[in-house]
């Protein structure tokens, strides 16, 4: 089985697509913020048009190397490409400033490679013993596991843990929109078909993650890369990894284990590895000043976690990290249902996934070393060329997801939420994971109770999970209790107002569903109530921090001080972001007027020429390329683009948005 899967992997029906996925993942990993999550979000709408095996190869291929390639911006520019490379910045960027960028990069890539293969190896062994574990995982255990995941996610993302949990609850409440899980009553749907199934995950992912990054790029008004240089001399880096092989092994193991805990995975594993290195290596004070070990530790962990995170994803259908939420969606899309079958009748598919992951990691890391120079050029494309192309791309991906132009509204709504959340330090991953898990929690709590009563809490697995949850809480309190440097704050009044505006949503939810059957409304009302309380507390703390006298009181009481720590965490100014965000509604208007393909051409030309009139050759060439791609895809996917008003006046070919 093991070997057969490896053989299958190198079949021409699989390998080229894996390679394609790797290239896509690498390319997007280099652009800050467009990491694995965005790669999958962009890929997902196309998945259903491919054979399941092909789709699988592309998804794994796209997912595996993003935590490798995001090292480029982390090291060269000091911008973490994805959450998994935040800690890499600490030592990698100082090394780049010293002219040791090549050494840092090659060490990071080799460490990633080893970590990734190690993660796959652990995964392939643990999967053999998974059947009894899965059989022991009934409704009750699954319910507790999801609670555990939420506990970790909500608290660990974001600098302020209260805002982190509140973000998660916002996601949970959004997740209850649609037909009630138990009775089938419509909740918060306003009689529309669109909202009966809730918001589409793909569109939420694009809105929450891709839109704010594009807006941020426009805000910076420069290139993604400020002008970093790559020097030759990567042999030193490779040697550094072999010298520190034990650190690589330790951090890889850590990565697998943390990755396997659902919900915790991606966002924190690099920090855990980094702090582990800091606690165990000699001369720990050197870390943070450009020490190669500070690069090796997080990089080996963040690739190993991809293997670990697949364990709960494949076996229980519970995503181990943000991008696994999308991978899971893709797996189900191609007819691969997570669960017991994955280690019984579908074991060959599971091994194919594992091997694909390992090989994608090797290829990805290898390519990174060789493609370093040409790939880095992409980050030097000026924002006025890159931004409009990316906007057309996410609109296209959104429309292709369900071929429903109403999704553009969802994209804009969640794009705006993403922009504000990012600017005001609310956690977007926590929101997305909360959203994804909401329906599972509601169903499982009911199912566990119906099948076991309360006795599910006394099963062995449940007791273990409860203990784990309690340990997590203790760990969190200790970690959050330690003082962290206060982040920059601006726009504090605006933040307070936003907290108030946010509270309107749970309040409206309660009003909208208050009259339904109790089985349909108890869960969302309880969540909304808890969210309201949290938002009230956050608003209260923010208000007290605004006023100098009450602020002193807050500082004197330890619990209040800890809770209000970084309560005004922010990134950039909201007004600037919002101004740039306006390009989305503008583009939407263009689409309504001209139809999607012509609007994309108009946007690209308009945007480029507005910034530099002499670049008409560039903008013309790019828009011609975009048109050719759109035309090809429209045929390949039988995709009729949203038609504009002008289609009623002039007759257009159908791929430009005309009628049949």
């Amino acid at each position: 089985m093991f070997i057969a899967a490896l053989f299958e992997l190198f079949q021409p029906t699989h390998f080229p697509y894996l390679l394609f996925g790797v290239l896509l993942g690498l390319t997007l990993g280099i652009l800050p913020g467009l990491g694995g999550t965005s790669a999958l979000a962009i890929l997902l709408p196309f998945i259903y048009t491919f054979e399941p095996g092909v789709a699988l190869a592309m998804m794994i291929g796209a997912l595996a190397p993003t935590t490798t390639s995001d090292t480029f911006p982390a090291v060269l520019l000091g911008i973490p490409g994805t959450a998994g490379s935040q800690a890499t910045v600490l030592d990698g960027h100082p090394m780049a400033k010293r002219g040791e960028a090549a050494r840092a990069l090659s060490a990071a890539f080799l460490a990633s490679l080893v970590g990734g293969v190690f993660g796959a190896l652990i995964l392939s062994i643990s999967i053999v013993f998974a059947r009894p574990i899965i059989m022991a995982f009934g409704f009750g255990e699954q319910f507790l596991l999801i609670l555990l995941a939420l506990l970790m996610v909500g608290a660990l993302t974001g600098a302020n843990f209260l805002k982190g949990i509140a973000s998660c609850f916002v996601g949970l409440v959004i997740g209850t929109i649609g037909l009630a899980e138990i009775t089938g009553d419509p909740r918060f749907t306003f009689g529309t078909l669109y909202l009966r199934d809730g918001f589409p995950l793909i569109v939420m992912g694009l809105g929450l993650f891709a839109v704010p990054e594009i807006v941020g790029l426009m805000q910076s008004r420069s290139t993604i890369a400020g002008g970093g240089k790559l020097k030759i001399g990567w042999l030193d880096g490779l040697r550094d990894v072999t010298k520190n092989w034990f650190l690589v092994l330790r951090c890889s193991s850590l990565g697998v284990m943390v990755g396997a805990l659902p919900g915790l995975g991606g966002t924190v594993v690099d920090w855990i590895a980094y702090s582990h290195a800091k606690q165990t290596v000699k001369n720990p004070e050197k870390l943070g000043t450009g020490d190669i070990r500070g690069v090796i530790a997080p990089e080996s962990a963040n690739n190993a976690k991809e293997g670990g995170a697949l364990i709960p994803t494949i076996l229980f259908g519970i995503p181990g990290s943000g991008n696994k939420v999308l991978l899971l969606g893709g797996l189900i899309l191609v007819g691969i249902e997570p669960g017991i079958e994955m280690v019984t009748t579908q074991l060959d598919v599971t091994y194919l996934i594992i091997w694909s992951l390992a090989v994608a990691n090797v290829i990805g890391a290898g390519l990174c070393i060789f493609l370093a120079r040409p790939m880095a050029q992409l980050t030097r494309v000026p924002f006025y060329i890159l931004a409009p192309v990316l906007i057309a791309l996410i609109f296209f991906a959104t429309f292709n997801a369900s071929r429903d132009w109403i999704d553009f509204f969802s994209l804009m709504v969640f794009g705006a939420i993403g922009v504000v959340f990012k600017a005001f330090g609310w956690s977007r991953p926590a929101l997305l994971i909360g959203f994804f898990l909401a329906s599972k929690i509601e169903l499982l709590s009911y199912q566990a109770n119906a099948a076991y009563g309360w006795s599910f809490l006394t099963r062995t697995g449940s007791l273990l999970l409860v203990a784990l949850a309690l340990a997590t809480i203790v760990f969190l309190i200790r970690q959050k209790g330690s003082e962290v440097a206060e982040s920059s704050r601006s726009d504090q009044k605006g933040q307070l107002i936003f907290t108030g505006v946010l509270a309107l949503f749970p309040a409206a939810m309660i009003l909208a569903i208050i009259e339904l059957d109790p089985r349909a409304n108890v869960f969302p009302i309880a969540l909304s109530g808890a969210l309201l309380i949290m938002l009230f507390m956050i608003a209260g703390l923010q208000a007290m921090r605004l006023n100098p006298t009450t602020s002193k009181t807050v500082s004197r009481f330890t619990p209040l001080r800890i809770m209000s720590q970084n309560i005004f965490e922010n990134e950039g100014t909201l007004s600037g972001h919002l101004r740039n965000y306006m390009i989305l509604p503008v583009f939407f208007g263009l689409v309504m007027l001209l139809g999607f393909p012509i609007a994309a051409v108009a946007l690209i030309n308009g945007f480029v020429l507005m910034h530099d009139r002499r670049k008409y050759i560039v903008s013309g060439a790019i828009s011609a390329a975009v048109l050719i791609i759109l035309w090809t895809l429209s045929g390949a996917l039988t995709l009729q683009y949203p038609a504009g008003v002008i289609a009623n006046v002039i007759s257009l070919p159908w791929w430009l948005g005309g009628a049949y």
């Binding site: 021409p12 080229p16 259903y48 048009t49 491919f50 054979e51 399941p52 092909v54 059989m135 995982f137 009934g138 409704f139 037909l179 899980e181 138990i182 009775t183 089938g184 009553d185 078909l193 009966r196 199934d197 189900i332 899309l333 191609v334 007819g335 691969i336 249902e337 669960g339 017991i340 009748t345 369900s402 071929r403 329906s439 169903l443 009911y446 199912q447 119906a450 099948a451 076991y452 059957d517 089985r519 349909a520 035309w631 090809t632 429209s634 045929g635 390949a636 039988t638 070919p653 159908w654 791929w655 049949y660």
Partner: protein, 363 residues
């Protein structure tokens, strides 16, 4: 190496080239160089997708001009989204079709306000029967066809995805078996089966393809026992078990065993609705309203040729079950029986919904 996508790309280039010279104008129907789109209102992985994925290469082979056939899955809204999409984008040139299952029928049968489609308007190409099988754990029955162990239990649990779907028929069926049953909601067929294997549920059911691929191995391993099959309506009105499971007891037989009297009257009428939906009307393929007769005939002819292909005959039982594919006009009547519910049947189903505490009602 890149066989399929490249073929698709070439296909698309050709479509664009021949777009305006639509096929319907030709005397001889040919789909050469075109792409056929079959709208499936379910996600990939589901039973309907599986059936048409199995048909896909044969359709491509036997349709005139060997077009590329692609499945477009538009899940959502309990099949309404995909069905409405088909209804509102009908293009009667023979390149745009709609694949259905009993879940589509039930949305029309229960008169959902959001459903804009109407199956009786479209031109039917074919239908395919399946049937349904119920099973329990082997430790709860002395052997096949025995429900005394379940009847003796204080409470037996079964999976139910949602009451506002064809699943509501389960409520009526269990109600007639004298088992004190309770539905566990939110469990798809596959999730329900996993839970059944874990020992949390005492009974579950699967359609033909799921039964053959997932349940039969568990029965052979001694973990599960089949206690009933819906049965297949015969031409003379009688009900027989399917050929691959000939020793199974059918619902009418079980009904008589449990209630001491034959299935008749309003109960029989309600059963016939279920038998139509989960039987001959469980899978269908439709062309849009107003599709020219020569195009409809070309499709029916392609299906007929497909069913005569030796490879198809060899592979079909393992993939879709041993049921005959029905072609052409008779399909219309089959679907009429499935979607038009009498008031008596509606109140029968509503009574079962009420008994199990469901808020959904058939209006």
């Amino acid at each position: 190496m890149f066989k399929k996508p490249v073929r698709k790309l070439l296909g698309s280039a050709l479509i664009a080239a021949t777009m305006f010279g639509a096929a319907s104008a030709n005397a001889e129907v040919s789909f050469e160089g075109q792409t056929i789109t079959v709208v499936i209102p379910f996600k990939e992985g589901g039973g309907t997708s599986r059936v048409f994925r199995f048909f896909q290469p044969y359709l491509s082979k036997y349709l005139p001009g060997n077009p590329v056939v692609q499945l477009q899955n538009i899940p959502g809204g309990g099949t309404i989204k995909g069905a409405n999409f088909f209804h509102n984008n009908q293009n009667p040139d023979g390149t745009f079709l709609f694949a259905t299952s009993s879940s589509v029928n039930i949305q029309q049968a229960t008169g959902n306000d959001l459903a804009e489609f109407d199956l009786s308007e479209y031109r039917p190409v074919m239908s395919l029967a399946t049937t349904t099988h119920w099973f329990t754990r082997s430790d709860l029955a002395s052997g096949p066809n025995d429900i005394s162990g379940l009847q003796a239990r204080e409470l037996s649990l079964f999976p139910l995805e949602t009451a506002s779907s064809a699943d509501l028929f389960h409520l009526w069926i269990y109600d007639k078996l004298g088992i004190n049953a309770r539905p566990i909601p939110g469990l798809s067929t596959s999730a329900g089966f996993q839970s059944f294997l874990r020992g949390e549920l005492q009974m579950a059911s699967q359609g033909t393809s799921g039964f053959l691929s997932k349940v039969v191995p568990e029965i052979d391993a001694g973990n599960a026992v089949q206690f009933m099959t819906l049965g297949v309506l015969q031409a003379d009105g009688s009900v027989a078990p399917p050929s691959y499971s000939s020793d199974a007891i059918t619902f009418p037989e079980m009904y008589e065993k449990v209630n001491g009297m034959p299935l008749e009257g309003e109960d029989l009428e309600a059963f016939k609705v279920i038998a139509a939906n989960w039987g001959p009307a469980s899978k269908g393929l439709f062309l849009p309203t107003g599709t020219p007769q020569d195009v409809v005939d070309a499709w029916r002819e392609a299906i007929r040729k497909m069913t005569e292909d030796p490879q198809f005959i060899a592979d079909a039982p393992g993939n879709i079950g041993p049921f005959p594919v029905m072609i052409g006009e008779p399909v219309e009547e089959i679907f009429a029986n499935a979607v038009n519910l009498s008031d008596a049947s509606k109140s029968q189903f509503n009574a079962a919904l009420k008994k199990y505490g469901m808020t959904f009602r058939i209006p």
